[in-house]
């Protein structure tokens, strides 16, 4: 079974996707089998790559489109959404 998901996330934490949040995102994403692609301003990034994510230069207030494809897409979307709404454990 293969699921396809698209969700939009707004980055609310002060630091944006700096090293630590980017690392947490990539680690969390890597725990899933699905492919996870982040789109922002016409750029795409592999959601499991800390380097790709950092390369997006995401700041507080930026919106990201997540495309998730694979057997556990729903779970992945929920987990990543939670990470972002929890502001990566900041504050």
């Amino acid at each position: 079974m293969c699921e396809n998901m698209e969700i939009t996330l707004k980055i609310e934490n002060k630091a944006g996707l700096h090293a630590r949040p980017a690392a947490l995102f990539a680690q969390k994403a890597s725990a899933f089998k699905s492919t996870i692609t982040i789109c922002k301003d016409g750029k795409t990034a592999n959601g499991k790559s800390i380097i790709n994510i950092m390369g997006l230069g995401t700041k507080q207030g930026d919106a990201l489109l997540l495309k998730i494809e694979g057997p556990d897409a729903n779970d992945a979307a929920a987990a990543l959404q939670k990470l972002v709404t929890d502001k990566f454990g900041e504050e």
Binding site: K14, A19, R20, A23, I50, G55, G57
Partner: protein, 571 residues
């Protein structure tokens, strides 16, 4: 025998054979035969595994020796080593261009570093250094360079980077020579805190040194003697033994009081960076803390530390020396110390930009949290609060008003605190030194921060080795500013101290005491030597010397005079 001249970065003498630091070369074959492609991919995967093991070990080592926060950077390096996009680029390069694993790693990490460097965000741009560090590590592994080489004798390197110093065991190293760097670069600071003698900034001449060459490193004058005669080695060895014996004797004298022969008290205190430093500085004989840099609580954090977290740190320091003066400096961030949670500021000249008190007055909520934690901790001991980078009276007045506001709020909320904590400022901007008489009316004390005062007065970046000669606290304009500050404070009945590098230089001690400074705060290692010198001084004589120094016209004249004065003491 031949000589190398450089910058005297850390005093002392070391004699021994040199050993070059192992650096990976860029001298490798860039392509392989098509049938080697699977083997190259396999080599990359093996290198990844080794790198992760090394980084794991480094992270654990840093976490126990320095702190979990500082160790986190190696965790991020680990993720970069295993990053799928790095692997993708490397594999693609090997498969389509028949690149060697080395070439593919070099190209891929350089590309990523360039991409990071182009992001419009200061903090992210600096991450380019991280990916370069990762690339270097993988290259070294691919070239079969052993990570944990046992270095002995005199270490010779182009420069020592933070990741080098975290992984090198300096146990058997007695000194080092570097091609780059100045007195305040990372390697020099490391040398001084580890008590190793060092000559830095010698240039490309290090390439002429061969492993095993016998050298004498004279960290007092910044000179290296290569392959000297036996008689010279014997002579230096004797000097070295004498210095070592002296150092042991000195360390034992650390707890003797620092009073001049004519009964003038000088407080010899220590600078600290974290509460964990207290044990060391108490052992060294420090009589208080002249500067507690609170940045460690803030840097490398994505969030503002909580009031409670800060309160615990401040209280720990105060409780360690309950009867001594503890000067805590409020957040001195910005400039070369960027705060991740504030986000990168685009500044052409960060050292002249929104930093220290200027930044705090913009991010008032962050500042108020710190002031609350300080006033609450104030009941534990003899706290003094110090504001950094004050340039005008207005800045001082607004900072004081904010402190008052915080005290009133605490009182309203019925929270235990101390409202009448003495308040001082750091004198590090020349403008403050010039209007010291105006500022003196509004403070309880001044503390002169020479590192920034010199850089701003001389308009010479302290990290820039090309203008290192200007960056000298014995420059006549710097001495005059110090004299001006001391005079203004005395006229208003306030005390003046110093917490910059100069405070720990015993060559400067007679001058500083003579100018009327009553507190000197330094690195713990310098405490016994400065106290030892104070005990040999006559205050009246020191005053006379200070007046003579103020008439001198060049740095060279000032140093010559101070060296003459120094010969009359047992150093």
């Amino acid at each position: 025998m031949w000589k190398i001249e450089g910058i005297a970065a850390s005093a002392g003498i070391a004699i021994g054979p040199i050993m070059h630091m192992q650096e990976c070369t860029h001298d490798f074959s860039r392509t392989v035969a098509p049938q080697e492609v699977p083997k190259e991919k396999e080599r990359f995967i093996e290198a990844q595994k080794v790198a992760v093991l090394q980084l794991d070990a480094l992270q654990k080592h840093m976490a126990t020796t320095v702190g979990a926060q500082e160790a986190e950077v190696f965790g991020a390096h680990k993720l970069m080593v295993e990053d799928p996009s790095l692997m993708e680029s490397v594999f693609a390069d090997i498969e389509t261009n028949y690149a060697s694993a080395e070439a593919a790693v070099e190209v891929a990490t350089e590309e990523i570093a360039t991409m990071f460097a182009s992001i419009e965000d200061e903090y992210m741009r600096e991450r380019a250094a991280d990916i370069k560090d990762v690339g270097k590590r993988l290259l070294c592994i691919l070239q079969g360079k052993v990570e944990d080489v046992k270095y002995e004798g005199i270490l010779v390197a182009k420069d020592l980077l933070p990741s080098d110093t975290a992984s090198i065991d300096f146990g058997s190293v007695s000194g080092f020579i570097t091609a780059l760097g100045g007195k305040t670069s990372h390697s020099s600071i490391l040398a001084r805190s580890a008590g190793l003698c060092a000559v830095v900034g010698v240039g490309s001449v290090i390439e002429k040194l061969c492993n095993g060459d016998m050298v004498i490193v004279d960290g007092h004058i910044g000179q290296v003697l290569v392959n000297p005669e036996e008689s010279l080695i014997a002579e230096y060895r004797q000097r070295m033994e004498k210095e070592k014996a002296k150092a042991v004797e000195l360390a034992h004298s650390g707890h003797l009081p620092s009073v001049t022969l004519d009964g003038h008290c000088i407080e010899v205190a220590s600078n600290i960076g974290t509460p964990a430093d207290m044990e060391k500085v108490i052992a060294a004989g420090a009589e208080g803390v002249g500067l507690f840099r609170t940045e460690f609580l803030f840097l490398d954090k994505t969030t503002v530390p909580t009031e409670e977290e800060q309160f615990q740190s401040y209280r720990a320091v105060l409780a360690a020396m309950p009867d001594k003066k503890i000067i805590i400096r409020t957040l001195d961030a910005g400039g070369d110390k960027q705060l991740p949670f504030i986000g990168g500021l685009q500044e052409a000249n960060p050292a002249l930009g929104l930093r220290a008190i200027r930044l705090c007055m913009v991010y008032k909520d962050v500042f108020k949290t710190q002031l609350r934690a300080l006033l609450r901790a104030g009941i534990e001991g003899n706290l003094h609060i110090m504001f950094p980078m004050i340039a005008t009276l207005d800045e001082l007045m607004s900072a004081k008003a904010l402190l008052k506001e915080v005290a009133d709020e605490l009182a309203q909320q019925g929270i235990v605190h101390r409202a009448d904590v003495p308040v001082g400022i750091m004198i590090e901007v020349p403008s403050a030194a010039v209007i010291a008489d105006i500022l003196a009316e509004e403070v309880d004390f001044f503390s002169i921060g020479t590192n920034d005062l010199v850089q701003y007065t001389m308009a010479a970046d302290r990290m820039n080795e090309h203008v290192a000669w200007l960056n000298d606290y014995f420059q006549p304009p710097v001495i005059r500013l110090i004299a001006n500050v001391a005079k203004a404070a005395q006229q208003h009945g306030k005390w003046v101290g110093m917490c910059g590098e100069m405070a720990g230089d015993s060559l400067a001690t007679p001058l500083l005491v003579g100018l009327g400074l009553t507190e000197l705060s330094m690195n713990g290692r310098s405490v016994p030597a400065v106290k030892h010198l104070v005990r040999q001084l006559h205050f009246e004589q020191a005053r006379e010397w200070a007046n003579q120094v103020l008439t001198l016209r060049t740095t060279a004249d000032i140093k010559k005079k101070l060296e003459e004065i120094a010969t009359t003491f047992e150093m």
